[in-house]
């Protein structure tokens, strides 16, 4: 059984337990043994865009802890993924930076040489799409709109993806579950979650427009694979005026959706909590 370290991130580990529970359950089903990050620390994503120097010490710490036990990291959030990949790229390119970071890490008994691979759960799931398809016992009979995790797709210079403007991993998986994937105008737009802290009204407007676009296209549910999408589109949905006859637009994470199709009990997938 392959062993990997799960890094849920500050947001998911403290707010979105259903997503984490389902992720662990699905990864186990796919033959991946999940271990936890000891002495958890923020990935540093909020410090990356020019806010504070030294941001790279934070992701380097988690990368070093994983390297010490010889395991790669699985992430659940786009921001964490992007930050770890950016850190890995810079530490690989700049030996002086790696040396400075290691001076810090050595005070904690750690050292990083650049050998930890970081993968968002969506990448693991899409690689296992055939196994997932074979495990489906309850093909999904409803229409699903997708909200793609921007930060695992772009910038391609950092994350190294092909098709950075039209990443289709979620579509491939949800289609394999038997569901109809609904095309909608705002599908490739960011959910707007990361604007919440600088301009809440703007973030709500971006989220409202995305959800209304999915509603107008006939979606019964919006499927996400990132803590940030869940934060805005689910937790802040009550502050948006939707064209849904006064009803909420249900949000579900991709691992939960897979679990439902693969016959895992609804309460085990956290659906009853939502």
């Amino acid at each position: 059984m392959e062993r990997m370290i799960l890094y849920p991130g500050c947001l998911v580990l403290s707010r979105f337990h259903e997503y984490e529970v389902a992720s662990r359950r699905i990864l186990k089903k796919l033959g991946i043994e999940v271990l936890d990050m000891e002495d958890f620390c923020c990935c540093g994503s909020s410090l990356v865009p020019g806010v504070r120097k030294g941001w790279i010490n934070l992701p380097a710490y988690s990368l070093a802890r994983a390297e010490r036990v010889g395991m790669d990291i699985i992430t659940l959030c786009g921001s964490c993924t992007n930050t770890f990949l950016r850190a890995n790229l810079l530490l690989g390119r700049e030996p002086d930076l790696l040396k400075r970071v290691n001076t810090r890490l050595e005070k904690m008994g750690l050292r990083y040489t650049g050998n930890t691979t970081v993968r968002h759960i969506l990448e693991i799931l899409v690689d296992a799409v055939d196994q997932i398809r074979e495990s489906v016992v309850n093909p999904l009979s409803f229409a699903v709109a997708l909200s793609h995790p921007c930060q695992i797709m772009r910038p391609s210079e950092i994350v190294g993806k092909r098709n950075p403007l039209n990443f289709q991993a979620m579509r491939e998986i949800v289609t394999a579950l038997g569901a109809e994937v609904v095309d909608y105008l705002a599908e490739q737009d960011c959910c707007g979650s990361t604007i919440l802290l600088s301009d809440k009204a703007m973030a709500l407007e971006v989220g409202r427009r995305k959800l209304n676009s999915a509603i107008e296209a006939g979606a019964a549910v919006v499927c996400v694979c990132c803590g940030n999408c869940l934060l805005l589109l689910d937790r802040y949905q009550g502050q948006m005026v939707l064209k849904n006859g006064g009803k909420r637009m249900p949000l579900i994470s991709l691992p939960q959706l897979i679990g439902l199709a693969c016959g895992f009990p609804q309460d085990e997938m956290g659906v009853f909590h939502q």
Partner: protein
């Protein structure tokens, strides 16, 4: 397509890093969704990330973001509330131990200044 045309903020009539790139300098440095579509479509390969960092330094940090950052420097965690293990247990999730102030200080001491 230009960067301002693919930006969700400018599409909403707002001011963002994409409009700042088009010389409308104002209060848009933090209004970025981090979706990075602008970087992918820019035909001139402008260093948009570098520009954003420069403008953010000039504009200063919004209050809510500053609070989160202070939390990271103090305890290595974004949120103020760290009593999440009881709820995690109710979901059958393992308890999470945070790195702790002393070790976070080893990582971040002296890094409080600008970028």
């Amino acid at each position: 397509m230009k960067c301002v045309e693919c930006c969700v903020v400018t599409e909403m009539g707002g001011h963002s890093i994409a409009s700042e790139l088009n010389e409308i300098i104002g209060d848009g440095a933090w209004n970025c969704a981090n979706c990075w579509r602008c970087i992918e479509i820019c035909p001139r390969e402008v260093d948009i990330f570098g520009f954003m960092m420069k403008r953010r330094k000039e504009e200063g940090i919004p209050e809510l973001i500053r609070k989160g950052i202070d939390g990271i420097f103090r305890k290595g965690f974004w949120f103020g509330d760290i009593q999440f293990n009881e709820v995690r247990e109710s979901f059958g999730l393992p308890a999470v131990r945070l790195l702790g102030r002393k070790k976070v200080a080893l990582l971040m001491a002296g890094e409080e200044g600008g970028s």
